[in-house]
């Protein structure tokens, strides 16, 4: 991580103003680092130009692993490792294996996706997030713009933020 980073931080009160502002600011060629919100703002990810998350694919992969593992384990245990003769019925048949297979699929898919989410979002119990403005979990939407990534000057970006409806424009150094 670079030391001594300079950020211009725009504070927005309203999510609809924020969405328009994101369009306008990006339209002016300014690179927005990230927008921090107290709640999910629909359409913000598209406005910021983020690619759709591939987490659903990951979840499917975990799920299918669970399915295969559960089917294999049950068939191997009851059909091969210790076959039991119960009323002359098949040692291993598919229908009674479905419930456990289904439950194990759900278990793997759910835990898999949550763990993946924590890893890709770099979330750990002992890490503190960088706080651009402490109110971003309360009622303000906080837009962070890194000066090092932009050609425009601090004042120009500040003016642009004000023009697009930011209620406050602050500076933050890390």
């Amino acid at each position: 991580m670079q030391s001594n980073k300079n950020f211009v931080v725009g504070i927005f009160d309203d999510e609809d103003v924020l969405l328009d502002a994101v369009e306008k600011i990006r339209g002016n060629g300014v690179r927005i680092d990230e927008v921090y919100s107290p709640f999910p703002v629909h359409g913000l990810d598209e406005a910021l130009g983020y690619r759709r998350t591939r987490l659903p694919i990951a979840s499917f992969m975990f799920g299918i692993t669970g399915t295969i593992l559960a089917l294999f384990t049950q068939t191997w245990m009851l059909g091969y490792d210790w076959p039991m003769d119960i009323g002359g019925k098949n040692h291993a048949s598919l229908p009674p294996f479905i419930p456990v297979t289904f439950e194990f699929t759900v278990l793997c898919a759910s835990f898999g996706i949550v763990i993946t989410f924590l890893i890709v979002s770099n979330m750990k119990p002992y890490s503190w997030p960088r706080s651009y403005d402490i109110r971003s979990t309360d009622d303000k939407h906080v837009m962070a713009i890194d000066l090092a990534h932009n050609k425009l000057s601090k004042d120009e970006i500040g003016r642009l933020l004000k023009d697009s409806g930011a209620s406050e424009v602050n500076e933050k150094n890390f």
């Binding site: 709640f39 913000l44 289904f102 278990l107 979330m123 119990p125 960088r130 979990t137 009622d139």
Partner: protein, 456 residues
Amino acid sequence: MQVTSTLREPLVTGGKTVRDVSEDISRQVEGKPTSLWWIAFGISSVLFLFGAYCFWILLWNGVGVWGLNKTIGWAWDITNFVWWVGIGHAGTLISAILLLFRQRWRMSINRAAEAMTIFAVICAASFPLAHMGRLWIGPVWSLPLPNTFGSLWVNFNSPLLWDVFAISTYFSVSLLFWYMGLIPDFAVIRDRAVRTGHNVRAAIYNALSFGWSGGAKTWMRYESVALILAGLSTPLVLSVHTIVSMDFATSVIPGWHATIFPPYFVAGAIFSGFAMVLTLLLVTRKLFHLEDYITIYHVELMNIIIIITGSIVGIAYITEFFIAWYGQVPAEQYTFINRAFGPYWWAYASMMTCNVISPQLFWFKKIRTNLVATFIISIIVNIGMWFERFVIIATSIHRDYLPSSWSMFYPTFYDVGQYIFTFGLFFCAFLLFAKYFPVINMAEVKSILKSTSEKK
């Protein structure tokens, strides 16, 4: 900008701002517990400790301290187990199924309902664990782990084993879903603690929130995870009570051996679950002054679900009777006549009155929007659902195939004690949750505030 019907009633009243939501919900986490909370917690702890004593006696002496006999091998234990599992279902229905249907009224009640699910499943699990007798090995033997007997594996053909998988998956996935919802709200409390200089509290809630930042990218992933968990939990919740019902339906006992059981049990589970959600939320809303977030409109919508599921359950009761007659199997016919007119007629009559007749009162708008009436009926429904399970379980087996084996079930002190134990556990856990965790999902309520709240 979302378009909302002007005909719908507002979901949040009192002209709340986003700021007010953080303030109202976090305040009770940050402040000292009220005396009312201490009284409630004290009573619950007494129930818990008394129950824990009974549980200990059970473990020390064995299942013989219960009133089970040779004919009735399953009675209160499994009744209570099914009852508690059923109660848990409303939480997942609210958080998962209503999320998929985009029902926004779920947002102020889902947190508490999911907490209820988790505690109810723990209470439920305590019964089969206790019934296994040796608590220290039972849970291990029910898992497919290598052992020194061969390895001799568990029997995957048995519905009881399916139940082990269903309940443990249900518990862990519900816990995960609930915790995911809590993460952004823990961050709210953390940042409030940072601002007021409570460093220890800030560190604790930061750890609980996994260092949540609230960036747009994280929110995007977070919403995707929530949607997938909802999609996975929906078939899961339906599967759980289906599998619970298969404990009975796959047997050959008249009165249990019925293909109607899975849908019938699922409807009953949601029915009793919503009743318990109402009982708890009506108290929580008063205790923590949440009248603006859990409005009469929420109560009314939940009561409508109670009418629907209660009526499905009623139809299931009648269908069972019809099929018993139509199927022309003498043993089956006898079981059903014996249920309604035999020695357990009073249990059957209580079940019918509480479950089929009482929810029909909610057809009247005056009753379903009246909090006192709702509270009373919600408790009646829960009593009725307990009787339903008792009727299905005990009356089907108390008349064995040989009249010399006919028997009755009388609960002992320890049967009652074990039931009280779960009540103590449930209410202690719920009160601790309501005090130290945000009882309402702040992030979700904030997101709908602009479009569905009452303006000042």
